[in-house]
């Protein structure tokens, strides 16, 4: 009984805290879900109204979850050709969302924009591109994405790119190639954050060696707690204080819970057996997934599972280097209590119960992410004083 009372009140405290320091979420795949489900027909998924049946994300639930800034992912699949045009369509989708729901969403390109969004009570909407395939080996295209408002680039998705190894592919260049390092330098010069989720540990280390700006992990958890290649090894987390960057913990059960890792491997095999891509989130694919789940009960992660990761990551990297990246609408399953974007208060309540102080939680939810983007902007100003745009090409550096 007393336990229940405390937890209700800590949930209330969490909500209060989030009103002052809302969540900056590092990764949300709503644009891809809109593409796959309705071909960008935004009328068919009016996110001003509840979309529980179709999406993890809508504006009422973002409000309930205390989200103050969102990096919308302009992800496109790395196993399909023509990533660049598909990425531009994703960018257009985010812009259409911002234009359509202008009372709720605010375009954001800078740390100052994030703060302005917080003051206005609108959700600062940033963009991140998920995978180096979106720049098609071209620094000109990278600059084009920056000009269009993209503020982080994940160096790879699930597949390698020619200049960087992915965590979930066979190593080829052994981290970053010479051109890959030039990509990182050009991102520093532009003020685009280097995102190391999805990349191999060798790539993480090479990027940390190269980058003069803080890096982020837009949606990755701790490998010490759950041995999945998508998670961050401790020796990399240890480097974040020196770099100034941050790791944004993700909730995806198959990355945070060891039992779920094993279960997912089996489920993916089942999807492939039915002719679907393992990450397919179309209704037909989800049906197959649900059928598998009925016969093989899914191991359940909870807010406590994610809090375990945060506790560990805090010990290794420090409170100034943590954040949150839910990966909503980019994953078929979510932890109990964090089932959609309305769930963040449950995680904050759990951390309050574990003794996290309010100033610490403010860093986790808001302050670190704003600081990191601002620091990248500072580095960019400095770098632009030193050198112009890079003309390097993959052929010239790696050929």
């Amino acid at each position: 009984m007393t336990r229940e009372v405390t937890s209700v009140s800590s949930l209330e405290q969490a909500r209060q805290l989030l009103r002052e320091f809302p969540v900056v979420d590092g990764h949300n795949d709503l644009p891809w879900a809109l593409r796959e489900q309705v071909g960008y027909d935004l009328d068919a998924r009016d996110i001003a109204t509840a979309q529980h049946a179709h999406l993890h994300t809508d504006i009422p639930r973002l409000r309930e979850g205390g989200v103050g800034a969102q990096y919308w992912s302009v992800y496109v699949r790395s196993d399909l050709p023509d990533a660049v045009p598909a990425t531009l369509e994703q960018i257009d989708c985010v812009r259409q969302l911002i234009a359509r729901y202008g009372d709720e969403l605010r375009p954001a390109l800078t740390a100052a924009d994030m703060e302005a969004g917080r003051r206005e009570g609108r959700i600062a909407s940033l963009m991140g591109a998920e995978g180096g395939h979106s720049i098609a080996n071209s620094l000109g295209t990278l600059r084009g994405l920056y000009d269009l408002g993209v503020r982080y680039l994940t160096l790879t998705h699930n597949d390698n790119v020619a200049w960087a190894d992915s965590a979930t592919d066979e190593p080829v260049v052994g981290g970053l190639s010479a051109f890959g390092r030039e990509v990182v330098r050009e991102m520093n010069r532009l003020g685009m954050l280097v995102d190391l989720s999805h990349v191999a540990a060798t790539t993480m280390n090479h990027a940390l060696d190269t980058s003069v700006a803080p890096v982020i992990f837009s949606h990755s958890s701790s490998r010490a707690l759950c041995d999945h290649p998508r998670n961050i090894p401790d020796d990399v987390l240890e480097r974040l204080p020196g770099n100034g960057g941050m790791a944004m913990v993700t909730f995806v059960p198959k990355f945070v819970l060891q039992a779920a890792v094993d279960w997912t491997a089996a489920a993916d095999d089942n999807m492939r057996a039915h002719g679907f891509h393992a990450l397919d989130t179309t209704p037909e694919a989800m049906k197959v997934h649900r059928a598998f789940e009925e016969t093989n009960p899914r191991p359940v992660a909870t807010a406590a599972t994610v809090a375990d990761h945060l506790d560990h990551m805090r010990e290794v990297a420090g409170i100034d280097h943590l954040g949150i990246g839910g990966d909503y609408d980019g994953t078929a399953f979510t932890p109990d209590g964090l089932s959609d974007v309305s769930g963040y208060p449950n995680l904050i309540a759990e951390l309050l119960d574990r003794g996290w102080s309010k100033p610490d939680l403010a860093k986790l939810t808001w302050e670190n992410a704003v600081r990191v983007l601002g620091a990248a902007e500072d580095v960019a100003r400095e770098e632009q004083g030193r050198r112009g745009p890079s003309n390097a090409t993959l052929e010239r550096l790696d050929g």
């Binding site: 045009p85 989708c93 812009r95 098609a136 071209s138 000109g140």
Partner: protein, 392 residues
């Protein structure tokens, strides 16, 4: 509200003060300049009231410079982005002999605005077409940023005028190939936001020999809504007449001369010129030996013809420099426009008509595109049409 001004009247903010106008009824003996006096006695109308600009007895080349100083050239096509791509290093401010265009020569040629073509080699699609377009847009932005004294990016008619008034050559982005939008209206919007202002409607499934498909028409409507001009040089006749019909903003032909004079496939037959003129469109005559002929007089013949058929409001110039194409003699680079204008003066073109040809018509079309876009944005949501639905 610079975009509400009529740009034919340059402001007094830059350049020397206008000399005071001569007294309207000056007697020959009271005029210090005997040339003007003779002109008055002979009853020749003054070509300009701004001093000696239009001095009818000055050498045509001097008059050409004077007229161009007031009505600079808005050049509708430059291949610079692709040409610069292959240069390891260049400085347009100091001058660059390996190309046809640089700031000193544009100043000598009185170029006030330049459309930078983003056309791609044929056959690029998908990643390569869109990626190459992004690279070219990036290159142009980089070039503009690194030549702030000479060049300035302009996205609207007002910005073109502002650049001109600040003594900069206005850079307008486009035309780009239709392939650049990879069959997606979303990508069209994204490229517009990066500055693209002209798109050539040719070489895709939705703008082919058969004309515009339903999706193609939707692209034109979205271009109107955004303020992206349709370029029909190289478009099929079916596409051209359909685009002229449905476009709410004037259409352009960035590189088309008169087919009646020279049977080049990109040149326009008289009926198309007339159609274009009736719709308030604009035919920009290229300075290329292939399309217009090998001499200045050949180019002037085309200009005469297009002016006669389409009207003086519907003819303009496109240098087509740095496109790997041979130019007529005496029109070899961007500094040569006075040679052409001198020829037109010899043929009796009036200063107002020359002003329309070099500058006014392009400004009108850009301004119309801006206003059409503003009006359309009040009435239309961004198009969500997809090619698979409309043409599938």
């Amino acid at each position: 509200m610079a975009d509400l001004q009529d740009e034919l009247h340059t402001t007094a903010e830059v350049g020397p003060l206008d000399p005071s106008a001569p007294p309207p009824l000056a007697l020959p003996e009271s005029d210090g300049q005997s040339d003007d006096g003779i002109g008055s006695v002979l009853g020749l109308p003054p070509l300009s009231d701004a001093g000696g600009d239009g001095d009818p007895d000055a050498a045509p080349i001097d008059r050409a410079h004077a007229v161009l100083a007031e009505h600079p050239v808005a050049d509708g096509y430059s291949g610079l982005p692709w040409a610069l791509r292959h240069l390891p290093w260049y400085d347009l401010e100091l001058g660059e002999s390996t190309i046809d265009t640089d700031v000193p020569r544009m100043r000598r040629g009185h170029v006030g605005a330049l459309f930078w073509a983003l056309h791609l080699p044929d056959g690029l699609t998908g990643d390569r077409a869109v990626g190459a377009t992004l690279e070219q847009l990036d290159l142009v932005r980089t070039v503009a940023r690194s030549h702030p004294e000479g060049l300035r990016l302009a996205g609207t008619a007002g910005q073109v005028t502002d650049a001109r008034n600040c003594g900069r050559v206005a850079i307008v982005l486009g035309p780009a190939s239709a392939a650049a939008i990879d069959d997606s209206i979303g990508i069209l919007r994204v490229l517009h936001s990066l500055g693209l202002r002209v798109l050539t409607l040719a070489g895709t499934s939705w703008a082919s020999k058969a004309g515009l498909t339903r999706f193609g028409e939707e692209v034109v409507r979205e271009m109107n809504r955004l303020g992206v001009l349709a370029d029909l040089s190289g478009a099929s006749p079916a596409t051209t007449s359909r685009a002229v019909t449905i476009s709410k903003a004037p259409v352009l032909c960035t590189r088309s001369a008169a087919r009646a004079l020279r049977p080049h496939p990109a040149n326009l037959p008289d009926e198309t010129l007339a159609e274009l003129g009736a719709a308030g469109g604009l035919c920009l005559v290229p300075l290329t030996a292939e399309q217009t002929g090998p001499s200045v007089r050949d180019v002037a013949d085309h200009l005469d013809h297009v002016r006669a058929i389409a009207g003086p409001e519907c003819v303009g110039l496109s240098g087509t420099y740095d496109s790997g194409i041979a130019h007529p003699q005496e029109l070899g680079d961007a500094s040569c426009y006075p040679n052409l204008i001198a020829e037109l003066l010899r043929r009796g073109w009036s200063e107002p008509d020359i002003g329309l040809l070099t500058w006014g018509n392009v400004q009108r079309v850009l301004r119309c595109a801006d206003f059409t876009a503003k009006a359309a944005q009040q009435r239309r949501e961004p198009s969500t049409a997809r090619i698979a639905h409309l043409d599938g």
